[in-house]
């Protein structure tokens, strides 16, 4: 699946997007965040305060307990500040 990063999450990860292949036991957005954090210190830093990270699955807001099965695109970003 494709992972997208925005705003300071993008800056901390160091890229705007990438292909990721989490193992099958990673079933939810929250578990995906934990798996990303386990990859290396860069992701651990970007996602250190996981509670503030928002996510979207296929361009729709998704809670951390949302299932990621079948997702093509998962985005991670801080709370929105438009308007």
């Amino acid at each position: 699946m494709k992972a997208l990063y925005f705003a300071w999450v993008r800056e901390r990860v160091g890229r705007a997007e990438e292909e990721i292949s989490p193992p099958p036991e990673v079933g939810t957005v929250g578990e995906l965040i934990d798996w990303l954090k386990s990859r290396d210190e860069t992701y651990a830093h970007a996602f250190e305060n996981a509670a503030v990270i928002r996510a979207a699955i296929d361009k729709a807001h998704a809670r951390h307990d949302a299932a990621i099965a079948g997702a093509r695109e998962i985005a991670f970003f801080p709370p929105m500040t438009g308007g």
Partner: protein, 151 residues
């Protein structure tokens, strides 16, 4: 009624957008327009850089508009949100709601702004007047509270 929804990097003209709504109509009783501007933060800000999630931003704007249309009998609706580099004094966002009565138009415009601020994927980064890159603007709890009061 099909709302006018746009996300663009270029400036927009609120008066022109309102005129497009009024033009030739005899049934509209109230037009409420909200324009959000880029503040200079007591002259410390050189610009705001608005990042957005292309595709999702359009989808969320459409969802927010649809939600407003289920709550109020609007006769016209325009939402425009800019992205990219925006200078102090420039306009960032425009919401225009037209209805038969002012109460509906006021409420819809306020609802739309509350929902846009908390659901549309835009983020603001500050560029300071001293040339340094500033912080990402932090989301405010009062914006979440404002959105939650609509239930």
């Amino acid at each position: 009624m099909t709302p006018t929804l746009r996300i663009q990097s270029t400036p927009f003209d609120p008066a022109h957008e309102a005129a497009l709504i009024e033009n030739g109509r005899r049934d509209i009783g109230a037009i409420v327009s909200f324009t959000g501007l880029c503040r200079d933060e007591d002259a410390t800000l050189a610009a705001l850089e608005l990042e957005h999630y292309a595709g999702m931003a359009e989808a969320e704007m459409a969802r927010v508009a649809e939600e407003a249309l289920t709550r109020w009998p609007l006769q016209a609706l325009t939402i425009i949100h800019r992205h990219g580099r925006i200078l102090p004094g420039e306009r960032i966002v425009l919401v225009i709601a037209a209805a038969r009565h002012r109460g509906e138009a006021f409420a819809a415009a306020e609802f739309l702004m509350d929902y846009l601020k908390t659901r549309a994927p835009f983020w603001k980064k500050e560029h300071r007047a001293d040339g340094s890159v500033g912080d990402w603007v932090e989301a405010k709890a009062k914006d979440d509270a404002a959105a939650e009061r609509w239930g």
